[in-house]
């Protein structure tokens, strides 16, 4: 893919090297402990899937890494060095790019402006042509169906917005990309394109964290599956792990809503065929 710039290619992290190492990360919102003592490693050239039930703390963890929230305690090591992420600018500067679950786009600005927001080409005399060409190139790679990059984001569909948000994360040649449910609103072709993209990005030696509720997508691209439950680590799996194992880790019981449902279905099926 040609979204690289010379700057990023100058120092690609060696594959296998640990890009990100979290230890003991906790985050409290008042009385609520959204994250408790989380440990997580991400290596270069690796896709880590973060799964868990609604409210498990996945988005909170991503926001901590994006500099949006400050952890209550714990350490973050980036490329071997302990770092603090006081604001989103710091995370972006280190090379941590994020596609947020709520996308965080400015509806009043057009697609080009959103893609380059905060990192415009030629700050004192905006290079609109350069930015527009780059925008089209990026969107092409994502097989984006966007009629015009000069329309405000407010006029785009949910999936188109999601594509814009993903394109934006690639723009700055990050070392690690975090995607919070990036395919939730995407069509079949666009989902496949995003999964392809994740693989391409991984092959280029970037670390990827992907959050998804779609186990099929997760198994398709992930090298490791990290499960969170109620804000705590609840196991690390390979994509070969059985569905039961994963569901048990996510819900915290072998006896759970999913297993009960499949048992009931199986029973009903038996009755009908009997």
């Amino acid at each position: 893919m040609n979204v690289t710039s010379p700057a990023a290619e100058a120092a690609p992290p060696a594959t296998g090297e640990t890009i990100l190492r979290l230890r003991g990360i906790s985050k409290k919102f008042g009385a609520v402990s959204a994250l408790t003592d989380i440990a997580l490693d991400v290596h270069a050239g690796e896709v880590v899937a973060l799964v868990g039930d609604n409210g498990a703390g996945k988005s909170t963890l991503v926001k901590v890494l994006a500099g949006v929230h400050q952890p209550t305690s714990g350490t973050i090591e980036f490329c071997g060095q302990e770092v603090t992420l006081p604001d989103p600018g710091a995370a972006l500067h280190l090379g941590i790019a994020t596609v947020f679950q709520d996308l965080a786009l400015c509806e009043n600005l057009d697609v080009v402006a959103n893609l380059f927001l905060g990192h415009e080409m030629a700050p004192w005399r905006l290079d609109e042509v350069g930015m527009e060409v780059r925008a089209w190139t990026l969107l092409r790679e994502l097989a984006a169906r966007i009629p015009s990059v000069r329309e405000p984001i407010a006029s785009l569909s949910g999936g188109q917005r999601q594509t814009v948000a993903i394109a934006r994360s690639l723009l700055l040649n990050p070392k690690i990309i975090m995607l919070d449910e990036p395919t939730a609103a995407l069509g079949v072709a666009q989902t496949a394109e995003v999964l392809n993209l994740i693989e391409r990005v991984r092959d280029r030696g970037l670390g990827v964290i992907i959050i998804s509720h779609n186990m099929e997508d997760v198994r398709a691209v992930a090298d490791r599956i990290v499960v969170l439950r109620l804000g705590r680590n609840s196991g690390v799996f390979t994509p070969e792990a059985s569905n039961n194992e994963l569901v048990a880790a996510i819900t915290g019981a072998t006896e759970n809503a999913v297993s009960r449902r499949s048992a009931r279905k199986a029973a009903e099926h038996g009755e009908i065929s009997a």
Binding site: P88, E107, L117, P123, S155
Partner: protein
């Protein structure tokens, strides 16, 4: 652009593109219908105002009356330009009137009473604006104080300071013969210069448009049709030349108005062509998204509040020069609301994220036309206040309705 390969931005067949003049006209009406009103309210407003007032008193459209109007536009327009900055962020500064009055008092006291040189007195007044703006930003950024409340207390505090430094006499007359006062009362551009200045915007549009066109075509992007460009520049130039000719039948174009327009042009460039301007719109549109893009949101608020108070102070300095006095009345009454109304009438949304520097220029012309017309009719200030209040209400209603329509048409 090669023949068989469509331009980069023309590959989606669902989008209608403006190729010809009639396409452009249709696009214009589509925009209006979807609530993107642009300059339409201003043009409609000006036509209605001109017809009504000139039928009531023919002096209204006399060249010299219009020249006076332009002098007045410059003072409040300057304040309005600052208001545009805070409105873009979805904030407000209700103390711009007091700020301008305080600044005008500073000039009078330092210059006439204390014998400072004029430039130093002006610099002090403007510095006061910077400090007040920085203070609002501090209250907003660090303490989360709504700008509405902060500036409301600022309004009272600065009015107090204005009365305090003016002392018991309450009014200082500025020397008539000084260049400072002449600037606000009699200094007029030479005819040839005014004509030359009238040619600049058209030439600017044409040259800028041509170079943008060239670069876009070179990058395989579609470009604005040439006829549109020429027509736009031609119409603007013709309009401006006519205006200058008409004003030159009277006294001519005031330098003070020229200064105001120059600042509008600079502000327009800053808002549309720099990273700072982009960040202003982003913060006004979605503050959290702007923050997550790495924009230093606090600095953007600081810049807007400082600009607003500074321009208000500058407006106060100009009004001192215009009135040849620093008095207790300076900046009181309808100055505040006129400045805000002008920005809104010109198309700046109270909800943040929409607007332009031109709004200040166009809006203030409408406001001053109304106020001037009412003065010519010898209406008491009670009626003038009521009518100005009504106009502001209408402007805000139009803004709200247009916003609702934009939301349902996906134009935010």
């Amino acid at each position: 652009m090669s023949q068989n390969q469509p331009a980069l931005d023309r590959s989606d067949e669902r989008v209608r593109h403006e190729e010809t003049l009639s396409d452009s006209l249709r696009a214009f009406f589509d925009r209006i219908r979807s609530g993107d009103l642009g300059v339409l309210p201003v043009i409609v407003g000006l036509i209605v105002i001109s017809v009504v007032f000139s039928s009531l008193n023919p002096v209204f459209l006399a060249p010299n009356n219009l020249v006076n109007m332009l002098f007045d536009c410059a003072t409040v327009g300057m304040i309005s330009l600052g208001i545009v900055c805070v409105l873009l962020l979805g904030e407000i500064d209700l103390s711009v009137g007091s700020m301008s009055g305080f600044a005008s008092a500073i000039v009078g006291v330092l210059w006439v009473n204390m014998g400072w040189p004029v430039p130093a007195a002006i610099a002090a007044a403007i510095l006061a604006g910077v400090v007040v703006g920085a203070l609002y930003a501090l209250l907003y950024n660090r303490l989360g104080m709504p700008s509405f409340i902060a500036s409301l207390s600022g309004l009272l505090a600065m009015l107090g300071m204005q009365l305090y430094i003016l002392g018991p006499t309450g009014s200082i007359n500025l020397p008539y013969a000084s260049p400072f006062v002449k600037f606000g009362q009699v200094m007029i551009m030479p005819d040839w210069f005014a004509y030359l200045a009238a040619l600049l915007p058209g030439a600017g549009i044409l040259l800028n448009g041509l170079s943008a066109r060239r670069r876009r075509l070179a990058a395989n992007l579609s470009a604005q049709p040439m006829t549109n460009l020429v027509l736009k520049a031609g119409a603007l130039t013709a309009g401006l030349l006519f205006a200058v000719w008409y004003l030159n039948l009277g006294r001519g174009v005031p330098w003070m108005f020229g200064l105001f327009v120059l600042l509008v042009v600079v502000m327009n460039y800053a808002l549309t062509r720099t990273k700072w301007g982009r960040s202003m719109f982003a913060v006004g549109g979605n503050r959290e998204a702007a923050r997550r893009s790495g924009i230093n949101v606090r600095r953007i608020y600081l810049s807007a509040f400082v600009l607003c108070s500074t321009l208000a102070a500058l407006g106060g300095v100009l009004s001192a020069s215009r009135l040849a006095s620093s008095s207790q009345q300076a900046g009181t009454g309808d100055v505040n609301l006129n400045a805000i109304a002008a920005a809104v009438i010109g198309g700046t949304s109270l909800f943040g994220g929409r607007g332009s520097a031109w709004a200040a220029l166009l809006g203030i012309i409408v406001i001053q036309a109304i106020s001037n017309g009412l003065t010519l009719l010898n209406l008491s200030s009670s009626l003038r206040y009521m009518i100005t209040g009504g106009v502001l209400a209408i402007a805000v209603i139009v803004d709200s309705l247009a916003r609702r329509s934009r939301m349902s048409h996906g134009r935010a």
